[in-house]
Structures are given as structure tokens and as C-alpha cells.
């Protein structure tokens, strides 16, 4: 009897996990992830906090926040101390999640379509997509830079909206803050924390 219960619990966990995980194929991965997000964000039974919690969860699981943080730090990631990098990563994750939830919780319904995928290398695939707003607005082209070093677990590293890379914009914003503060990573962390706590 005990064995059967353990077996059933394992089966339930595996089944539930398979429901939560997205496909490993980059194109399907983006499509499933975005459609899941659209369904949840359009759900009128969920309040803002529940939607924010959902966005945070899928971002933590499917976005390479660690690499994104290092990329946005630029060349300083090679010379900064381990402690400073570690503190920066913690602050960056909070900053990323806050700005992401703030951008997405006011979502208005749109139709999402995958256009094509372009395998750049063993590590990167660009998935091209478009969003067609239901309010007659112009369609928006979005390219997803998917990191595929682990083919079983693709991760999003950047979103290129109408040719504008969010990662590059963030990197250049941080570079400007650093250059006006003698390249002091602690000052950058201070600024990020200030933003997160406001």
C-alpha cells in the first residue's frame, strides 16, 4: 500500500511538472510561454498581485536573469570583485522583476503569432514573432534571443522590440551611470536599490 502511495505521489509530481514546463524547442518554448502569459494576464479573476506573482515565477524559471545581469554590467563584470558581482546580481534580479511586472500587469489583450526562427549558433536561436493588438493598433515585431546551450532547458536572454534590444538599452543605461560615478559598481548597486525600494 505504501509503495502504491509513493508511486502515485511521484506520478502526480511528474505530471504536474510536465504541465508547468515548456517545450525545449525554442519556437514552441516561446509560443507556449507567451500564450500561457497572455491567458493569465487576461484572466479577470486574478488581481494585480496574483498576476505579478505569476510573471515573477515564469521570469525566474525561463529568463536567464543571471546572464542578463552580467551582460548589462558590461566590461566591469571582468574586473569587479566576486563580492560586488554577487551583490550586483541580487540587486539586478530585484530590479528586473520589478520593472517586468510593472510593464506587464497593465497588459491589454493582443494576439500573438510566431513568424519564424533563426538558429544563429549552437547556443542561440532568434525566434521572430509579432503581436497584433486587438484595438486596431499597428502590429509589433518582437524577436526573442533564446539561449540554447542546454537544449533541454532554453532560456530567454533578450527581447528585441521593433529592432530595439531591451538588454542593450539596459546595458547602455548602466554604462552611463557607471561612467558618471568613476565606474564604481557600488554606486550602481545603490542606484538600483534606490529604484527597487521606491
Amino acid at each position: 500500500m505504501k509503495r502504491i502511495v509513493i508511486y502515485l505521489v511521484c506520478l502526480f509530481l511528474i505530471f504536474q511538472n510536465s504541465l508547468l514546463a515548456y517545450s525545449s524547442n525554442p519556437r514552441d518554448f516561446v509560443e507556449e510561454l507567451v500564450n500561457d502569459a497572455i491567458t493569465k494576464l487576461a484572466d479577470k479573476n486574478l488581481n494585480k498581485d496574483q498576476k505579478a506573482a505569476f510573471i515573477e515565477k515564469i521570469a525566474l524559471e525561463n529568463v536567464d536573469i543571471n546572464a542578463l545581469g552580467l551582460y548589462t554590467l558590461g566590461e566591469l563584470r571582468k574586473s569587479a570583485s566576486k563580492d560586488n558581482i554577487s551583490n550586483y546580481k541580487i540587486s539586478f534580479e530585484k530590479y528586473f522583476l520589478k520593472s517586468l511586472t510593472s510593464r506587464l500587469t497593465d497588459y491589454s489583450s493582443s494576439k500573438f503569432e510566431i513568424v519564424s526562427e533563426d538558429k544563429k549558433s549552437a547556443n542561440y536561436t532568434i525566434v521572430k514573432s509579432k503581436i497584433i493588438p486587438e484595438d486596431d493598433g499597428p502590429e509589433i515585431k518582437i524577436d526573442w534571443r533564446v539561449y540554447t546551450k542546454n537544449p533541454e532547458k532554453p532560456l530567454i536572454r533578450d527581447l528585441i522590440v521593433e529592432g530595439l534590444s531591451l538588454a542593450r538599452t539596459q546595458k547602455e543605461e548602466f554604462a552611463s551611470i557607471l561612467s558618471s560615478n568613476d565606474n564604481d559598481i557600488k554606486k550602481l548597486i545603490e542606484k538600483i536599490e534606490e529604484f527597487v525600494n521606491n
Binding site: D64, N66, A67, L70, Y71, S99, S102, R103, K120, N123, Y124, I126, D136, G137, P138, K141, D143, R145, K149, R157, D158, I160, E162, G163, L164, S165, R168, T169, E172, E173, F174, A175, S176, I177, K191, I192, F195
Partner: protein, 247 residues
């Protein structure tokens, strides 16, 4: 006469800026402190004038907004025509000429856009882009009062635009072209309407950027420079600068 005199002075200053920064990286600033002050002024102006206008514009019925947007867009196609010639881009020249001809006639003075349904999709081209396509670097970056972010190359292009744009020829210089004439008020009215239309289209994006930027000035700068690079390349291909950032 005064306009030509002023133009000569500005032209010389801009050429010098461009020449003095031939190897400047796109991120380099001409005079950052002044640019930041002007940016602050522009944002205040946006809060008081442009944003309320854009919000009001967004409340207009959709056909009016689309018609206005089509109308200003059709006029701006005129600037693309000489620039397509200067870039030797015959395919785009066909799109621009065809689109303008169809929309100005069948499209009732450009308020409708039947050209798009016929597959005519002209890219917006200006002299700054033409200079970029010749391999001329951006020069340094700065912010102009009211007009916003620019670079030495693009501001030189902006001035040159008024000389190659047939619409500016008819309105700003009040010359006659195909029995059509206008005045500077027409020119500035169209430019102002285009600005309101653009601001209204991007209302949510502006709000999101203001809300989520730690340094808004740098975010605008990055977006402006990326957008200009894309327009010069006529594509939105992703630039891979991730290097070997492997976990």
C-alpha cells in the same frame, strides 16, 4: 536671406563637429551636461504640451487618427524620394514614388493608404540615413531643444533635409512645384502634427520608459541610436554582442 546666413553658420559648426569626431563611438557625447539640461527642458515641455495633446489625440475616433497619420506619413514619403535616389536604392524609390502617387490620388490626398494593400511599403529615408549609408559615422551625440536626441551627422542631415525635401521646397521656400505652393506655416503644422501622432502612438511606451528607467536620458539615447542604426541598415537584424557569456 537671414535664414541662409544662419544656415551657413550652423552648417559650419556641424561639419566641424563631424570632422572633429571621426572616430567617436556612437555613445560619445558632445556636451553631456548641456544635453542633459536640454533633455530636462524637453521633458518638461512634453509634460505640459505634447503629452496632453497626444492624450487628447488618442481619444479621437480611430478613422480620424488613422487618416491623420496616413496624411502626414504620405507627405513625409516625399523626403524619401530624393534620398532613395542618393542611396541608389531603385527598389525603394519605386515603393516611395508608387506609394505617394497612389495614396495622393486614389487615397484621397493621402488620408487613406491603398498603396499598402498593393504591397507598396516605402521606408522612411532622410539625409542623415543617406550619409550613414555612405559610411559616415554618427559623430557625437547631443540633444536639441524641442527636436530631441540627435548626432552631429543627423543634425547636419536635418538641415539638409529642408533643401532636398520637395515639401519643404514648396512650403518653407514658397516655390511652386507642379502648380502647388504653400508657406512655412503649412510646413510646421505638418511637422507638429507628425510629432503629436508619433507621441500618441507611443504613449504607453513613454510611460513605461519613464517609470522603469534609472537614468531616463541614457535610455532615450540608447533607443535613439539603435533606431537610427536600424534605419540606416533598413533592417532590424539583431546585433550579437553577447560574446561568450556562458554560464
Amino acid at each position: 536671406m537671414q535664414f541662409i546666413k544662419n544656415f551657413k553658420t550652423i552648417f559650419i559648426v556641424l561639419v566641424l563637429l563631424l570632422l572633429l569626431t571621426p572616430v567617436a563611438k556612437s555613445a560619445e557625447e558632445c556636451f553631456e551636461k548641456t544635453s542633459r539640461a536640454i533633455f530636462k527642458f524637453n521633458m518638461a515641455l512634453d509634460d505640459v504640451v505634447l503629452e496632453p495633446l497626444a492624450k487628447g489625440y488618442n481619444k479621437l475616433p480611430s478613422p480620424i487618427k488613422t487618416g491623420t497619420s496616413n496624411f502626414t506619413s504620405n507627405i513625409s514619403t516625399l523626403l524619401s524620394i530624393p534620398n532613395n535616389i542618393l542611396q541608389g536604392n531603385l527598389k525603394q524609390l519605386g515603393h516611395s514614388v508608387g506609394s505617394f502617387a497612389v495614396n495622393s490620388t486614389v487615397g484621397i490626398l493621402g488620408f487613406l493608404n491603398p498603396a499598402e494593400k498593393m504591397g507598396l511599403k516605402p521606408h522612411k529615408e532622410d539625409v542623415g540615413q543617406t550619409l550613414g549609408s555612405y559610411g559616415i559615422g554618427t559623430g557625437c551625440y547631443f540633444v536639441l531643444p524641442v527636436l530631441g536626441p540627435t548626432t552631429a551627422r543627423d543634425s547636419l542631415g536635418l538641415l539638409a533635409d529642408t533643401f532636398v525635401d520637395p515639401f519643404a521646397h514648396v512650403t518653407l521656400r514658397e516655390k511652386e512645384l507642379f502648380s502647388t505652393s504653400g508657406n512655412s506655416l503649412d510646413y510646421f503644422s505638418i511637422k507638429a502634427t507628425s510629432a503629436v501622432d508619433f507621441r500618441a502612438d507611443n504613449e504607453t511606451n513613454f510611460e513605461s520608459l519613464e517609470k522603469n528607467s534609472i537614468d531616463l536620458y541614457s535610455s532615450f539615447k540608447s533607443i535613439y541610436l539603435q533606431d537610427r542604426e536600424n534605419k540606416i541598415r533598413n533592417s532590424i537584424e539583431d546585433q550579437d554582442d553577447w560574446g561568450n557569456l556562458d554560464n
